[in-house]
Amino acid sequence: MTLNTNMLKNLQSSLRPCVSAPLREKRSASLTLIIFAIVLANPLAAQRQDTTKLPSGVRLRVTYQQMTRPKVAVRPFGGATTAGSLAEQVTTIIKNDLDFSDRFVISDIMPEKLSGTGTPDFKAWNSMGIVYLLTGEVAPASAGYLLHVVLWDVVYGTGKQAMTYSLPAATSPDFRLMVHRVSDDVVKWATGQQGMAASRIVYRHKAGTGDELVIIDSDGQGSHRFFANDMLIYSPTWSPDGQRIAYAQQTGRGWQLVERDVHTGNVKIITSRNDFILTPAYSPDGRHLAFALWTGQGTEIDDYDAVQRCCMRRISKNPRDDISPTYSPDGTQMAFMSNRIGQPHIYVMPANGGDPTLVSPYVYGEPGYYTSPDWSPIGNRIAFHGRSKGEFQIMTADPTRPGSEVQQITSSGRNEDPSWAPDGRHLVFTGVREGGTGLYVMDVETGRLRPLVLGGRYTIADWSPSLKPNSEVR
């Protein structure tokens, strides 16, 4: 399993074209313009302590794709007097969601004469450069409310899509989630693609002497404590159906790997050990749970049968550490971190164990440090963090092209531990940046960054899959 010298040499030579390429611009056929700055690594000047250059094989993504983002206006939703303030609340949530989707330019201008209800004045909206207009009406219903929304195609002057939703009372835990689902539908109508508004993020907060797990909506609102422990908690991760969160917790006697139901709080203990357990990850079909555990010499990865609830099996082996498993979307492969060659690197292997392939850039004689992989739920991209110019930055790599095309996504401050949103284009990560310390969300397509929660010791975030309201699940 250990890489031999020949493999390393091959790897090195396969990296070389990428390293020695001069500064170049790449222009694709469409309006898309991608500029990669390739910082030359002069092998003669290569020193272990040199922190001024990018690691070989890493490209800094200076300018992001400038995709054409259609201009969207959200007209204040109408509502009868009893539903009036609720309509305002719903409008705000959806407008923020559409903004945070990073697929539109949201118009902030709302002329008085256009803010009324009824069929829009397409000509007036068109003259403002608006491509899509969203309107809505909230009406009280027997239980909760009915929300009717229409997405208008301003350019062609027609309704593009309309839908009526039933909303629970604003005090219901499902209320915001239901509104987020409306936002995701709007994204789908306008772009044909999966959004991420109806999702949540679980993270660890170090509160005093203990740890707690907190769940927060994708828009940074509605945070609430999920679980608290007076000892350590590690590695919360969502099940593929969004119904459970698995995590490792320290107890008075050792460590436990547990699953906790998001809605009921019911707990199932998967395994208990004297030494630590870390980084559980569900397979996309939910049938397997892979996790790392201390074996006495190092950390290895075990596979647990989550259906029969048994049959733990070692699927990685080396004298050092294997940790942080993450499944490919089809469940056939697994990325993980290993320091088998003396530095932490990202590898991919068959999901049930086998020979690993190196994914992160290894250059003989140069220091490398790449950890915390997370495989995109929709495609061939693995996010992780790596050391660049002396700091940790978020990077992504294409596992089908090992050792090449690693893109550095962040370049300011220290950024660690990325987790993909269900849309496969947003990442949440821990940032120690000028704007503050905490969790940030970045769109890897546009490079747009927003703080999710700042001002505390918030780390090891995991982004959920798309979530359904609990009432729909039962």
Binding site: Y234, L278, H385, V432
Partner: protein, 194 residues
């Protein structure tokens, strides 16, 4: 048997040497004034009382020396060992610190120790827990490599969770990349290794 007699000799030697270099014994405050002794008091009984006092003083001084030596030994035993970035290999200064513990641990067979591995704040939170564990294990393996019983050492990792320096620069990080040593039992019986 052999080990015990060596231990006894060591103890005796420690007590003796302590007697010689000890500062003058404290002045024992005079006892509450008794009425003047009767002229017919037995000279022998006075001498015996004096000898008894001297013996107590000597024993106290020896005990004090033992306590001081023991405190020093405890401090050496609990001295922190430091590591390089992303490394669990023992540096020369780490080995020297462990060598100093070695003699004490040999001389104090009833003393058990918990070794707590720690890392700086940078890098993967989870990988740092593993790294802390390897630092604790490397320290333990070094000591057991000299024949000490592995059962005397408990190893744990706190990863990056328990920094001693909350700073965000290299000097803070260097102080946080460490293995701490805590005496878990036998703390009253720590003997100097000499």
């Amino acid at each position: 048997m052999m080990r015990r007699s060596v231990l006894m000799l060591t103890l005796a030697a420690a007590a003796l040497s302590a007697c010689h270099k000890k500062k003058p014994p404290e002045v024992v405050p005079p006892r509450a004034e008794a009425p003047p002794a009767a002229p017919r008091v037995n000279e022998d009984s006075i001498r015996r009382a004096q000898m008894r006092q001297d013996s107590i003083r000597r024993a106290e001084a020896a005990a004090e020396a033992m306590r001081e030596g023991s405190a020093r030994a405890r401090a050496t035993l609990e001295q922190t060992v430091y590591f390089d970035y992303d490394q669990a290999d023992l540096r020369a200064d780490a080995k020297a610190a462990l060598d100093a513990k070695l003699g004490i641990l040999r001389a104090s067979p009833g003393v058990n120790v918990r070794i707590e591995g720690n890392t700086d704040e940078r890098g993967s939170v989870e990988y740092n827990l593993a790294l802390g564990m390897r630092r604790a294990s490397a320290s333990k393996e070094y000591l057991t490599g000299f024949g000490l019983d592995g059962g005397r050492f408990e190893t744990v990792s706190y990863g990056e969770e328990r920094p001693v320096d909350m700073g965000h620069d290299e000097s803070a990080w260097a102080r946080n990349r460490r293995a701490d040593f805590r005496i878990t039992s036998g703390g009253d019986n720590v003997r100097t290794g000499q």
